[in-house]
């Protein structure tokens, strides 16, 4: 079984030789290749995005660590923002961030048009990186299309605080921002799958209890997720959903059920969740993803503690297949490499 087969089998709920590992490393490769953030993400002076360097980061990181699944480019949360007129900062050795959102007012949303991902902003470079990675690794390693979820993407475009206030005070404005974000996310899904990704990963840090109300999740996130799923289905690609929040608490179970009903293949649980509960309740219907808490375990370490957390995650969720080991969220530059190695090596040793 090669890495790609392992991930695809797990997403179908089948057993695998060893538990597949997906780091969702979005900017870690910049450290591995010792490149600055602006020279890759902003393409250096006068550039937009350096596809070749981005792809090199992904490929070399995979060769170094041997994980089973990659995101096909260096990814940051400002990829749509600058194409639409907002502003992104690219610090030398840190992670890019949005300094000016696209929609300072609710009215600005009505005037906006979706960007052409093949010709505007940094996305053409990102798509090209996916193509290079697919060519180099695609037969052996699974490639995820990393796409932001409805409230998460809308929050990046509008500013999350403004969006959350709109949800209560001006629901029509919130709806408009989210509809725009979802339409844009669907464009990403199509373009990135066409560039060689094998499945869609919906990254939704701001879509879940902990941040929004359960009824807002049902009103905004779930219908948006269903649209993203429909776009992925056009290309026959499965979808994994990753919102943050304590979903394995009994009162939030209906929120997981609602996501499963849209037809997702997998659900990645973030921090503060009990994988044993997840496996027991939903393991027969979807693939379970998740495992090592980033702020509590993976970052502080030490490696021995990471090995323990990895073993425990596999013990709770690995039995019978349908499980992908992941950190609780994305991995970035600045993360200690030996901590990631401890996690991956432990997964390789453990029988399922």
């Amino acid at each position: 079984m090669n890495s790609r087969h392992r991930v695809e089998a797990a997403l179908r709920g089948e057993t695998t030789d060893v538990v597949p590992v997906f780091l969702r490393d979005l900017t870690l490769g910049l450290d591995v290749c010792d490149l600055t953030t602006p020279e890759v993400c902003a393409g250096g002076p006068g550039g937009t995005y350096d596809a070749d360097k981005s792809a090199r980061c992904v490929i070399e990181t995979q060769r170094l660590l041997g994980h089973d699944c990659v995101v096909g480019s260096i990814h940051d949360l400002g990829l749509d923002v600058d194409a639409l007129g907002g502003r992104v900062e690219f610090p030398e050795r840190e992670i890019p961030y949005v300094v000016e959102p696209v929609f300072p007012t609710a009215q600005a949303i009505a005037r906006a048009h979706l960007p052409d991902l093949h010709s505007q902003g940094r996305m053409p470079g990102v798509l090209r990186a996916y193509q290079i990675v697919a060519k180099a690794l695609g037969d052996e390693v699974a490639i995820a299309a990393n796409v932001e979820g409805p409230v998460t993407k809308a929050g990046l475009l509008r500013g999350l605080d403004s969006l959350l206030s709109d949800m209560v005070r001006d629901p029509a404005a919130a709806r408009a921002a989210i509809d725009f974000a979802v339409a844009l996310a669907c464009e990403h899904v199509r373009a990135v799958l066409d560039a060689g990704a094998h499945f869609v990963f919906v990254a939704a840090a701001s879509d879940g209890p902990g941040i929004i109300r359960p009824e807002q999740y049902l009103e905004y996130t779930i219908p948006g997720l269903a649209e993203i799923l429909a776009a992925a289905r056009e290309r026959g690609a499965p979808v994994v959903f990753h919102p943050h929040g304590p979903f394995t608490q009994e009162r939030f179970w209906p929120l997981v059920e609602a996501a499963i009903e849209t037809g997702i293949a997998g659900f990645q649980f973030g921090e503060n969740n009990d994988l044993a509960i997840a496996k027991q309740r939903w393991g027969q219907r979807i693939c379970i993803l998740g495992g090592v808490d980033i702020p509590e375990v993976l970052l502080p370490g030490p490696p021995e503690r990471i090995r323990g957390a990895t073993k425990s995650a596999i013990a709770h969720a690995g039995k019978g297949g349908g499980y992908v080991l992941m950190p609780s969220c994305s991995i970035h530059r600045g993360f200690p490499i030996d901590h990631l190695t401890a996690m991956i090596e432990t997964a390789r040793q453990g029988a399922v």
């Binding site: 840190e94 992670i95 605080d161 941040i211 807002q216």
Partner: protein, 223 residues
């Protein structure tokens, strides 16, 4: 309407995030002859209850954000009366708050700001992506008793130390208490960088700020 009933209604308007009714009720209470501090106490009670509900995830971030708007609208109305009375002028202390440079996680900082203001602190919010020099300058200008910094990433939390270094280099470290917070921040980290304390959530941040201001070391202001 009775004073007690109007007070209860004001608390309810805050909890419901009713930005229009809350200032009207605050004004009405003043017209009824209530002390301004009676009104601020009601506002604080309502916000403290919301803080507890948020800790249990019985309410969510949007609820706190709109409650904060209602709180601020009510405060705006009573501010002049508050300044006019002796008890009202005695604010607990001044806090300068912000998210460190390179970090855009604002939600936690906003909640801490709101709960500190609701507890009677004068709070200056510098926003997100705040450079070390800016923290130090704002603290100097406002004679802040407390500098409160938020960071949600291990890659940016080191910036908190930069702020303390600036204060030390300017010989003003003892003028301000420094508190830190955000998911990766631990007591050990706070100790290592020489901060005066850290707290895991907004309610505990308020308790920490109060504790620091009642402890013996003088803070706030002049060099």
């Amino acid at each position: 309407m009775h004073l007690q009933t109007a007070t209860a209604q004001l608390e309810h308007a805050i909890e419901a995030g009713d930005e229009e009714t809350a200032p009207k009720l605050a004004e009405f209470l003043l017209d009824l002859g209530a002390e301004p501090t009676h009104v601020t106490a009601a506002l604080s009670r309502a916000m403290a209850r919301l803080g507890k509900q948020f800790q249990r995830l019985d309410i969510f971030v949007p609820d706190l954000l709109v409650a904060a708007d209602a709180f601020e609208a009510a405060m705006h109305v009573i501010e002049p009366a508050l300044h006019a009375c002796e008890a009202g002028r005695q604010r607990k202390g001044t806090v300068v708050i912000g998210v460190v440079e390179g970090d855009i996680h604002t939600l936690g900082k906003n909640l801490v700001r709101v709960m500190l203001a609701a507890d009677g602190f004068q709070v200056h919010d510098l926003g997100r992506d705040v450079k070390a020099a800016r923290f130090a300058q704002a603290a100097r200008e406002s004679k802040a008793d407390i500098i409160a910094m938020s960071a949600l990433m291990t890659t940016t939390m080191g910036r908190m130390k930069d702020v303390i270094d600036v204060l030390v280099s300017e010989g003003r470290r003892d003028n301000h208490r420094v508190i830190v917070g955000g998911a990766p921040v631990t007591q050990q980290f706070a100790d290592e960088i020489g901060a005066d304390g850290c707290a895991q959530d907004a309610s505990r941040a308020v308790a920490l700020a109060n504790r620091l201001l009642t402890s013996d070391r003088p803070v706030g202001g002049e060099t």
